[in-house]
Symmetry: C2
C-alpha cells in the first residue's frame, strides 16, 4: 500500500474532502508555516536564504511541522515554493529582499519557450520529494500531508513576467498576440505539474492542491482556454488508482465555480469575496469547499474573530464537505495567538453543524 | 428644463441605458481622457501639476474633449479626480510622481473621523461644477456628459490608508475592530457623494457613475454592510425628478450583481472577469450592462482586438441595454491608434445586434 493511502489518526480533512461525516470541521491555514511564527523566522535565519530553506529537506520538514506544535491543526502542508518547476527548467529563481521572487532568465521569445522541457521530479526536484518523505516520517500519521503545485497559467505568468506579475502586460501580450506560443508553454507546464504532483503523491502526499493564484485576472473565455483547460489536463494525467483528493483554488474564481468543479477535482478553494452559501448551492453536491475567512480578520479583537468564524461556519451550514481556511494566505504581521483563537473557534463552533 | 435633461444629438448612450432601441452599441472608455493621448500629456505639462489640471475648469474641459476630437465616442466623461471629496474635507491631497495620490492628513482616529463634515459642492467643489458647465457648453449637445464620484467605501479606504490601498490593513482594521467608527465615516461620505452628484446633475451631467473601485476586496457580508448599503443611501437621496441614469461599477463585484441591480441604479459596470452572457441572464431584465473588454487587448494586433470586440458583443447578444467599455481604465502605454480600432469595431460589428 503506498504511503499516500495510509489513513492518518486525524482523518477529519480526508473525510471532509470526501464529504463523509466528521465530528468537527477540519481547519488548516494557507501559509500556516511562515513568517508570522518566530520559530519560522529563526529557522529561516539559520538557513541563510529562502531558497536554502526550501531546498533542504530537513529544514523544510522542520518549518512544516512548526505550526502543528502550536495549534491543533487538522493538516500539514509541505513547505516549498510555488516556483520550483520553472527553477528546475533553468530560469534561475532568486529572491530579492523585500521584492519577492525573480527569474534571472525569464522566457520572453517563442524560441526560449520552445526550448523548455519537462523536468524529471525525482532527479531535478528530488529535494521536494525527500522533504515529503521526511515530513511523512516525522508526522508519524498524526495528520494528513498536503502537497501542492502552482497551476500552469500561474507558473507561466511568473515565467514570462520574470517576477510577481503586476499588470500582466507581458503575459497577456503573449496571450492576445501569440496565443499558440502561450499554449505551447502551458502544455509543457501541465505535463510538468502532473509529473510533479504524481511524484509528491508517490512520496507520500495525501492531499494535492493546485494554486491558480492568477486565474482571476482573466476573462471568462480566457480562463477556460488558458487556465482551466490545463488544470483538466493535469487531472486527466494523474493516476486514477489511489489518487489523493485534489483541491483547486483560483483566486477571483467565484464566477467559474461550476466549470472548476467539472474538472474532476474533489474540492474548491474559495477566496473571501465568494459567498460560501451560494457556492455550496451551486457546486456543493459535486465537490467539497475550502475557505474562506478574510485574512484581515486576524488583526481584529478575539471576539470579532470568533463571530466571523461562526458566520462562515453558519454560511456553509450543516453536514460535511467544508474545510475551514482563510480566503488567502496568513499575513506575516499576524500574532500567533490569533491563530489559536481561530483554530479553537472552528473546532468548538462547528460541532453544532455535525450532530 | 434643467441642462441635464436636454437631449444630445447622439443619444445612443442614454437610449442604451434606458434599454431602448439603438442603431449601434454605444461606446466610451474609462480614462478615455488620459495619459495615452499625447495632447493630454501636453496639457498636463502646461498645467504644471495634476491637481492644477483637475481644478482649473478650462483645462479640465480641454482634456475632457480631446478624445472626442479623435474618436467617434458616444459620450464624454468629466475629467476629474476620484479624491476631490476627501480633499475638500481637508485631508490635503497630493500626487507624488510615480506613486499616485497621497493624503497629507489621513484620518486614523475616531476623533479625526468624528470631526469631518459634508463639503458644500457649489462652494468647496465649485471648480468641478464650473468644469461640468463649461464642458456642456463646449460639447454643444453633441454627446452626453457623464459625471462621477467614488463610492463611500472606496473613498473611505483611501482616507484611512492615506494612499492607494495595498493590503487594506488600516481600512479593514477599522472595519473589523471599530465598525461603528467606519459606519460614521461612510455615512458622512454617502451624504457628501449624494450632494456632489446632485450638484453635478444640476450643473449639467446627463449620466452619473459611481466607482466602487475597491468593493471587490470585501467579503459578501461586508460588501453589503460597508459598501452597497451606502450606495443605496446615495441613490435614495438623489432627486427622483429628472434624475440622470446612474451606472454602478464595483471592480470584482461579479458575485453580487443581483444585489447591485437592486440598489435602484440603471446600469452595472462589469469588469473583464465577469461573463456578460451570464450577467445579462442574471440582471439584464432590470438594468443595462456596461463593459467589459480586457484592457490588455489594446496592445494586441488589430485583428485580435476586432475578434475580441466581436466576442463581447456576441456574448451580450441581440437588443439594447449594452454600453461598450473596457473592464477597467485604458492604460497609459496604449497607442491611440488602437483606440480607433476598438471604437470602429464596436460601431461596425454591433449593427447586426440592433436590426
Amino acid at each position: 500500500m503506498p504511503a499516500s493511502v495510509e489513513k492518518p489518526q486525524n482523518d477529519r480533512l480526508l473525510r471532509a474532502l470526501a464529504r463523509q461525516p466528521v465530528d468537527a470541521t477540519p481547519v488548516w491555514i494557507m501559509r500556516q508555516a511562515g513568517r508570522y511564527l518566530p520559530e519560522y523566522r529563526e529557522t529561516r535565519a539559520r538557513a541563510g536564504s529562502f531558497l536554502t530553506l526550501c531546498s533542504t529537506p530537513e529544514l523544510a520538514c522542520e518549518v512544516t511541522l512548526q505550526p502543528l506544535e502550536r495549534f491543533p491543526l487538522d493538516a500539514a502542508i509541505l513547505f516549498s515554493d510555488i516556483l520550483t518547476i520553472p527553477n528546475a527548467m533553468g530560469l534561475g529563481l532568486e529572491f530579492v529582499e523585500g521584492e519577492g521572487p525573480r527569474f534571472q532568465r525569464p522566457v520572453q521569445s517563442t524560441r526560449e519557450i520552445m526550448n523548455l522541457s519537462v523536468p524529471d521530479p525525482e532527479t531535478e526536484l528530488g529535494y521536494v520529494m525527500d522533504a515529503v518523505r521526511l515530513i511523512r516520517k516525522e508526522l508519524d500519521g498524526r495528520v494528513p500531508l498536503i502537497g501542492f503545485s502552482g497551476s500552469p497559467w500561474t507558473l507561466a505568468s511568473y515565467m514570462v513576467e520574470g517576477r510577481a506579475p503586476g499588470d500582466f502586460r507581458k503575459a497577456k501580450g503573449l496571450m492576445y498576440g501569440e496565443p499558440r506560443t502561450l499554449h505551447h508553454l502551458l502544455d509543457i507546464l501541465a505535463r510538468s505539474v502532473a509529473a510533479y504532483l504524481e511524484a509528491q503523491m508517490k512520496a507520500g502526499a495525501q492531499v494535492l492542491m493546485i494554486f491558480d493564484t492568477w486565474g482571476g485576472v482573466l476573462t471568462s473565455d480566457a480562463y477556460e482556454e488558458f487556465s482551466l483547460r490545463y488544470v483538466r489536463q493535469i487531472l486527466a494525467a494523474l493516476p486514477t488508482e489511489n489518487r489523493p483528493p485534489v483541491i483547486l483554488f483560483s483566486k477571483g474564481g467565484g464566477g467559474w465555480l461550476e466549470a472548476m468543479a467539472d474538472t474532476g477535482c474533489d474540492a474548491l478553494g474559495l477566496d473571501w469575496s465568494t459567498d460560501i452559501t451560494k457556492a455550496r448551492r451551486r457546486v456543493g453536491g459535486q465537490v467539497a469547499l475550502q475557505g474562506n475567512l478574510d485574512p484581515a480578520l486576524l488583526e481584529a479583537p478575539d471576539e470579532a474573530i470568533r463571530t466571523e468564524v461562526g458566520r462562515v461556519l453558519a454560511a456553509y451550514g450543516e453536514g460535511s464537505g467544508h474545510v475551514f481556511n482563510l480566503g488567502h494566505g496568513i499575513q506575516p504581521w499576524i500574532a500567533p495567538e490569533k491563530m489559536a483563537v481561530l483554530v479553537d473557534a472552528v473546532h468548538e463552533l462547528s460541532r453544532q453543524y455535525h450532530p
